[in-house]
């Protein structure tokens, strides 16, 4: 086991105690007929046991089966809305959907809370309050689109967006229409360059790695650069981030602009990463926003076993908010388990990449 962590045992223990207490509160909420959602109340009835009695902490969540995201396909989506929140306005966010019925997640305030918490991790100097943002990522029924806009608003800015339909991108890839794919990427970058050139005083942006690279290249072709557009801070994510790409971006694209890689999806909040650079080989380690979400790195053949620090395993996610309970969802990603750090006194994951046993089915294209 690695002993690199600068965190005292005390802080880690405190975090764990807090997590256990939060788990009890969340279980009580979701499985209480007065507050819980129809899906989980029905589930408990069929399962024949009462989680409120049997779950005393995070470790007891192993009594639940692995959450299956197939459960999210199709309606009625109201079955996921907790009774206590039935009167609140609801959003629905979708994942996938290139073919067939997409998976849907109902949300009310979660995306705002998650991104406000993430906002606290952003350095003020690089993401100045009151400055405007560019959202260079997927649009449509995506959580990311509204979440980034909320982040900008939360920090006192206005968010400018582009149109980007990832489902069309995936279709282009599957059809092998490479020229169309390039044209679509150009179309997206055209929009970004136009927004950046329009005097909107944009200093911050969200981008995926591929689009950031394409934007930087386009600006250079035009005799400009990311720096010259006035961008000071980049929040990046949405697709796989390798240390090599992180290094390439820092050394050759960013010219001193701050970039923070993130890991997340519609089911969870946003896992942030402490700064990386040449001092740590540009390694990116993500830490979930505990206690609202917990990431574990588990043995792919036995998800009950968390792998040792530094060892490779499949990412397993548990989401614990009052809007949404996702126990032990096995992600389509793998990575290495990392010890707690000063900023995040709980386990993290580095080297996140598509789960090798499923990798061939994963399509990452223009964005």
């Amino acid at each position: 086991m690695s002993t690199e962590s600068a965190v005292t045992d005390g802080r880690a223990t405190e975090a764990r105690t807090g997590l256990d207490a939060w788990v009890r509160e969340i279980i009580e909420w979701h499985f209480n007929p007065d507050t819980g959602c129809p899906f989980w109340l029905d589930w408990a009835q069929q399962a024949g046991w009462d989680p409120r009695r049997e779950v005393g902490g995070f470790g007891d969540l192993c009594k639940f089966p692995h959450f299956e995201d197939e459960w999210l396909r199709g309606g009625p989506v109201r079955r996921w809305v907790p009774k206590a929140y039935a009167d609140r306005p609801a959003f629905v966010f979708e994942t996938g959907g290139t073919t067939g019925i997409p998976k849907s997640r109902v949300a009310q305030e979660d995306f705002r809370i998650d991104y406000e918490l993430f906002s606290d991790t952003l350095p003020e100097k690089c993401f100045p309050r009151g400055s405007n943002w560019l959202m260079l990522g997927p649009s449509g029924p995506r959580r990311l689109r509204l979440a980034v806009e909320h982040l900008a608003q939360h920090r006192g800015g206005i968010c400018f967006c582009v149109d980007l339909d990832p489902r069309w991108v995936i279709k282009l890839i599957k059809k092998g229409w490479h020229e169309h794919l390039k044209a679509y990427q150009d179309h997206v970058i055209d929009q970004a360059v136009t927004v950046l050139s329009a005097g909107h005083d944009i200093k911050c942006m969200f981008s995926t790695p591929k689009l950031l690279e394409a934007l930087a290249n386009r600006l250079e072709e035009n005799g400009s650069s990311l720096k010259e557009t006035g961008i000071q801070g980049i929040f990046a994510g949405g697709t796989e981030f390798t240390p090599q790409w992180n290094r390439f971006a820092h050394e050759e694209l960013l010219d001193g602009i701050y970039m923070t890689p993130t890991y997340g999806n519609t089911l969870m909040g946003l896992a942030a990463s402490p700064p990386s650079g040449p001092e740590n080989g540009y390694k990116i380690t993500y830490y979930a926003p505990q206690p609202r979400a917990v990431i574990q790195v588990v043995d792919p053949d036995d998800a009950e076993k968390v792998v040792g620090y530094g060892e490779t395993g499949r990412v397993m996610l548990t989401t614990l908010t009052k809007e949404f309970f996702v126990p032990r969802f096995q992600e389509r990603d793998e990575g290495e388990r990392e010890p707690p750090c000063e900023q995040y006194p709980w386990d993290g994951v580095s080297g996140v990449r598509p789960f090798s046993r499923l990798a061939s089915a994963t399509t990452v294209g223009v964005y």
């Binding site: 390039k182 390798t242 090599q244 971006a249």
Partner: protein, 474 residues
């Protein structure tokens, strides 16, 4: 362990991502290879492609020719930089064999072939340019015999996505540098050796480092090379050929489906050509696109199949250092089993018979701990209608297909090299006119015997330079 960096216009760059290439038979790592990311490729090509051609244009073509000739000598004989030390020619042979599975004597033969091409490059280019004055290529125009000629380079650099399985293909990119076109190479994952060593030999011979880039990596790096060069060569299977068919910027080198076609006037004396047939199938362990994978005749096909099978069927795997080793190993896990399975499926069709089977105790597939072999396979096909008649694999595999001569040309499909064993003028004329045949040999020429002075799957000079009109006011 030996480390191959990325070469960014000659400058080594150590990536944070490396892959190991392992010894095919022991599984031990032999080298670590830095992996480029597509962004690096795109960026370098945008910034450095024109520079690559410019630095080469500062050197006259004749001088570049002398340099690459010298490079050929160095490639074959010198100790050249590799990793933290140097690589001797013997090291190169051993290392290339270790990761590609090709027997050492075949690696040495390919090394000699590359040196041969480089030492004769002046003649090769004279032939491919049809004796054009090189200064016209450099300047873009010039008079020859009182006629104004103008040629424009279609690209400042040529991109190449290279294979792992056949080191001989590197001969295709050797004429590029003297044409003052830069080189952008994406080596095959198991064969980083030749591009690296050739680049080092060229540098030592005086070729400017800014003219050559090497980007090891996986598929997306190859795609980046293709997407960021105006002209490129790619090697791959049928799917790759179909993907890039009709793309004028990409010259695709796929399976050859090379064949020997025996005319009715010769077929009764087929025994005279048995050595030619065996050599065409077996040389270089059948890995080349120019290896014969089909022998077509109107009669005696069963006897031909039997005779070829008697010669090559008993051949078994030998250690790579054995000078008698005739078979290359399959180093990609599962590949040989998949091929053998595909053959089994095609065998289920009526009219197909595996003639080599009786010479192979234990079957054609030989599985070892870290690699596999498939023993030479001879199939008899009673007609061209059976699916087996169109099969080709990267080992000594040949179908002997019974087909009337008058149906043969239409039935063979696309064929890189056809050797027509005939003296019949009408069949010869038909072969000459067949647009599905690229390289044509009439008479007893093995399919694997190349004349280097002739174009291979298109003239590379025509691919890289377009003739155009040019007038200059007096």
């Amino acid at each position: 362990m030996i480390h191959f960096p990325v070469l960014r216009w000659g400058e080594p760059y150590q990536s944070l991502e490396t892959t190991e290439v392992c010894h095919f038979s022991t599984g031990e790592p032999v080298a670590a290879v830095s992996q480029a990311n597509p962004g690096i490729v795109a960026r370098d090509l945008r910034k450095g492609s024109e520079r690559a051609r410019d630095v080469l244009r500062e050197i006259p073509c004749a001088d570049l020719l002398a340099m690459v000739k010298k490079g050929g000598e160095l490639f074959k004989t010198a100790d050249l930089p590799l990793g933290d030390g140097v690589q001797t020619p013997d090291d190169f042979v051993r290392q290339q064999s270790a990761t590609t599975g090709l027997p050492e004597h075949m690696c040495r033969m390919n090394m000699g072939k590359l040196e041969y091409v480089l030492s004769h490059l002046d003649k090769v280019l004279t032939s491919l340019t049809r004796k054009l004055d090189y200064d016209i290529l450099t300047r873009g125009y010039g008079e020859e015999d009182g006629v104004m000629r103008s040629y424009q380079a279609t690209t400042p650099v040529l991109g190449m996505v290279l294979p792992s399985n056949s080191p001989g293909v590197h001969s295709l990119w050797l004429p590029i540098i003297p044409l003052q076109i830069g080189l952008v190479l994406k080596p095959g994952p198991q064969e980083p050796w030749t591009p690296w060593r050739m680049a080092q030999a060229f540098f030592q011979a005086g070729i400017p480092k800014e003219a050559i880039a090497l980007y090891p990596g996986m598929g997306e790096v190859g795609a980046a090379v293709l997407n960021n060069t105006h002209r490129s060569l790619i090697f791959g299977g049928t799917a790759t050929v179909e993907q890039y068919a009709g793309n004028p910027g990409v010259q695709v080198h796929g399976p050859g489906f090379s064949k020997i076609l025996i005319g009715d006037d010769v077929v009764d004396n087929w025994e005279r050509h048995l050595d030619l047939m065996v050599d065409s199938v077996l040389t270089n362990s059948g890995r080349g696109c120019i290896n014969c994978s089909g022998i077509w005749a109107s009669r005696h096909t069963r006897e031909i199949a039997q005779a070829v099978a008697e010669r090559i069927g008993p051949i078994a795997p030998l250690p790579p250092e054995d000078p008698e080793a005739a078979l290359a190993a399959f180093t990609v896990p599962g590949q040989a089993a998949a091929i053998s399975g595909d053959i089994d499926s095609a065998l289920k069709e009526d009219g197909v018979e595996e003639i080599s089977e009786k010479f192979q105790d234990g079957g054609r597939l030989v599985s070892q701990e870290h690699c596999d072999y498939i023993r030479p396979t001879v199939m008899h096909c009673a007609s061209p209608e059976v699916a087996m008649s169109k099969k080709e694999y990267m080992y000594p595999f040949v179908t002997v297909v019974e087909c009337p001569q008058e149906q043969m040309i239409k039935a063979i499909g696309t064929t890189l090299v056809a050797t027509g064993l005939t003296e019949d003028p009408s069949f010869t004329r038909a072969l000459l006119d067949a647009r599905n045949i690229d390289r044509l040999n009439i008479g007893p020429v093995p399919t694997i015997k190349l004349n280097w002075l002739q174009p291979h799957e298109g003239n590379i000079v025509d691919f890289l330079f377009r003739p155009r009109a040019f007038q200059q006011a007096g």
